[in-house]
Amino acid sequence: MSIIQIESLKKTYRETEVEVHAVNGIDLSFEAGEFAAIVGPSGSGKTTLLNLIGGLDSPTEGKIVINNTNISNLSASQIIDFRLWNIGFVFQAYNLIPVLTAKENVEFIMHLQGRKKQEREQRTKDLLTSVGLGNRLNSRPSQLSGGQQQRVAVARALASKPKFVLADEPTANLDSKSTENLLDIMEKLNREENITFIFSTHDARVVKKAHRVITIEDGKVVSDERK
C-alpha cells in the first residue's frame, strides 16, 4: 500500500494579474522505502509540489492522502501536529535553530513530541553518530560547515520517526564532496533502516543516486522512471 497518494493536484498562484500554474495536474504515489528524486529546471514546480505533500501549502485542486488521511481535511493546528509526527523536513538552508547546538537541535523535535529525556538523548547520539557527527554534538550551527549542517538537519528529520522525509534541494548550497557525502548518508539510511526519502534536485550527480526519478516541467510530470 502506498504511503502517499496524489490525485489531480493543482496549485495556482494568482498574486499578480497573471496566473501561475506552479503545479498543474499531478498524479503520483509513493511506497514505503522509496528513494525518489523530483527533478526539473528552476521554476518547474518542485518546491511547490513538496510543500503541498508536506502540508505546508494547500492545493487549489486535487487531493493528497497520506496514510489514509486526506491532509486537506485537517485544521491549521492539526496539520502542524500531523507534520510533527509523520513527516521529516530538510530544507535547502537555514534548517537549524541557530541558538541551539547540534544535539539540542535534534532533541528539539523530540521535545515537541514530548518524548522522555532518556530516549531523546540516546536517539540524538545515535542519529548524529550515524550521520558522522558523533564528535560535534555540542557545536552550534555557525560552527559547522554547510554539509555538516545539512547532516544535522537529516538527523533532526529522522529523530521524530517520520513516515517519510521530504528534502527540497538539500544539496543546492553544498560543494560536490559534501553533496556526495550527504547523499551517501541518506542512501545508507534508506538501505539499512528503510527510511523513505523524497528529495528535489536539479543536480545530475544527485539524480544518478536516486532509485526513482520523477521529472517535472511546468508543473506537470513528464517522466517517472524506476531504476
Binding site: 510543500n51 508536506g54 505546508l56 501549502d57 493546528s77 502542524i80 501536529d81 507534520r83 510533527l84 509526527w85 523536513f89 530544507f91 537555514y94 534548517n95 535553530i97 541557530p98 541558538v99 541551539l100 539540542e104 532533541e107 528539539f108 523535535i109 521535545h111 515537541l112 513530541q113 533532526r156 528529520a157 521524530s160
Partner: protein
C-alpha cells in the same frame, strides 16, 4: 527547552538586548524617581502646613467653619474632651482659640492671627520651641507672646518689646491688650510667618473675654492615613447638633486641589515617558521577530505549534523586561531612600517662588514601596502590551512565505 531557547536568543544580539534592558531600567528609575519626588513634596507640604500646624483633624462648634468668629466658638467641657480622647486611635487633643486682631507698634499696623495655644502640648505637635530664633519659649502661665519672624521684621519688634493688640472679643466685647514679646519664631510657611502671634491659652482666653472658650480642637494621632477614619469615628460619637469634626482635606480644599492638579500634570509627563518606552520595546520586539521570520517558519514547518513559538518570544520579552524592572527597582530604592533623608535643596529664583507658596524650598522623596511597585508594574504591563503585536504577527505567520525568504 523553551526557556533555554528564549534565554539564548536574548544573548544572540547582546547589544540590542542590553539597550532594551537599560531602557526598561531607565523607565522604572525615572518613573519611581519622579513619582517619589512628587509625593515626597506633597507629603512635606501637607506635613508642614497641615500636620505640623492645623492638624489632620479638628473639631469645631458646628457653625464655626462657615463663619470663623469667636461667637461660633465653643465652651469647653470635660465630657467633650473625654469623648474625644476615648475615640479609637486618638492620642491627644490640643485646645486652641484663634481669631484675627490688629497689631501695632510705633507707626506700623498689621492684621494678625492670634492663636491661643497650650504651650507644652503644641510644642510636641508643631515643634514650636525649635522654631525660636530669638528669645525663649513660653509656659502656660506666661503673659508674653511669640511672634512670626516676618511679622517682627515688619513691625520692627524685638524680644522684650511690647506689642499692642486690638480686636473683637467674645459676644461683642472689645479685645485690647499689651503683650511683651517673649520670642521670635520662624515658621516654615511664609504666609503664616508673616501674621502669626502665639499666646498661652489662658492669656488668649482673657484677651478675647472668652474664659474656658475655644475655637478649635486639634486631634492628635499617629498615622496620617487614618484621617478620614478618625474623622468619621468622631462624628459618630460626638453630638453633631453641636460639634463637627473636619478632615484637613475639607478644611484646606485648595491645597488638596493644588496637589491633585499637580499630580495629574506629573502623571501626564510620565505617560509621555511610558509611550517612548513602549515604542522602544515595540520596535525591538518587532525587529527580533522580523529578523527571525525564516527561522520561525522553519520551526512551524517541522511541527511546532504557533502558540508555543509565541510563548518563546513572550518569554524573551518577559525575561528582558523583568530583568530591567528588577534592576530598576534595585537602583530606585537606594536613590529614593537617599533623597528622602538628603533632599535636594533648591536655590535662587526657584526657591523664592516656592517659598511664596508657603513651602520649604527642598525636594524630598517619599519612601513608598507602593509607588515603586506601581511604577514597576506599569512598566511591565506596557512592555507586555508593546510585545503583543509582534506575537500576533507570529500567530499569523505564513509558513510558505517565511520559508521562501
Amino acid at each position: 527547552m523553551n526557556l533555554r531557547i528564549a534565554w539564548r536568543n536574548i544573548w544572540r544580539n547582546k547589544k540590542r538586548s542590553l539597550i532594551t534592558i537599560s531602557s526598561v531600567v531607565l523607565a522604572v528609575v525615572l518613573a519611581t524617581f519622579t513619582r517619589s519626588f512628587q509625593e515626597g513634596t506633597y507629603e512635606l507640604m501637607i506635613e508642614n502646613a497641615i500636620g505640623k500646624f492645623s492638624g489632620y483633624v479638628q473639631v469645631h462648634q458646628k457653625d464655626y467653619w462657615e463663619d470663623k468668629s469667636l461667637d461660633n466658638g465653643m465652651e469647653l467641657s470635660d465630657s467633650l474632651i473625654r469623648t474625644i480622647l476615648s475615640t479609637q486611635n486618638v492620642e491627644g487633643v490640643n485646645i486652641r482659640i484663634e481669631s484675627f486682631s490688629l497689631a501695632s507698634n510705633k507707626n506700623n499696623t498689621k492684621g494678625t492671627l492670634v492663636m491661643g495655644i497650650e504651650p507644652k502640648k503644641e510644642d510636641s505637635l508643631i515643634d514650636l520651641s525649635n522654631k525660636i530664633i530669638k528669645g525663649a519659649y513660653f509656659n502656660k502661665h506666661d503673659k508674653g507672646i511669640l511672634i512670626g519672624s516676618k511679622l517682627a521684621q515688619y513691625l520692627e519688634l524685638d524680644v522684650g518689646d511690647s506689642l499692642v493688640l486690638m480686636g473683637q472679643g467674645h459676644w461683642g466685647n472689645t479685645a485690647v491688650g499689651i503683650f511683651p514679646v517673649k520670642g521670635i519664631v520662624k515658621m516654615p510657611a511664609p504666609n503664616i510667618d508673616r501674621q502669626i502671634v502665639f499666646m498661652p491659652l489662658k492669656t488668649a482666653q482673657e484677651y478675647f473675654s472668652f474664659p474656658n472658650g475655644a475655637t478649635s480642637l486639634v486631634i492628635k494621632f499617629k498615622d496620617a492615613d487614618l484621617t478620614q477614619k478618625i474623622c468619621n469615628r468622631l462624628n459618630s460619637r460626638l453630638d453633631t447638633t453641636q460639634y463637627k469634626a473636619m478632615s484637613w482635606q475639607k478644611m484646606s480644599p485648595e491645597m488638596l486641589q493644588q496637589i491633585q492638579s499637580d499630580r495629574i500634570s506629573g502623571i501626564m509627563m510620565l505617560n509621555i515617558l511610558y509611550m517612548i518606552i513602549a515604542f522602544g520595546i515595540f520596535g525591538t520586539v518587532l525587529m527580533m521577530t522580523e529578523e527571525r521570520k525564516r527561522e520561525f517558519a522553519m520551526m512551524i514547518a517541522i511541527g511546532m505549534q504557533k502558540t508555543k513559538l509565541a510563548i518563546i518570544t513572550l518569554y524573551e520579552a518577559l525575561i528582558m523586561n523583568s530583568l530591567g524592572i528588577i534592576i530598576g527597582i534595585g537602583l530606585s530604592i537606594p536613590l529614593v531612600v537617599y533623597y528622602h533623608y538628603y533632599p535636594i535643596e533648591m536655590s535662587g529664583e526657584m526657591a523664592k517662588s516656592i517659598e511664596k507658596f508657603g513651602m520649604e524650598p527642598v525636594l524630598p522623596t517619599m519612601i513608598s514601596f507602593k509607588i515603586i511597585l506601581k511604577q514597576a508594574l506599569t512598566v511591565l504591563i506596557i512592555t507586555i502590551v508593546a510585545a503583543a503585536y509582534p506575537l500576533w504577527s507570529i500567530l499569523k505567520l505564513n509558513v510558505i512565505k517565511g520559508l521562501r525568504r
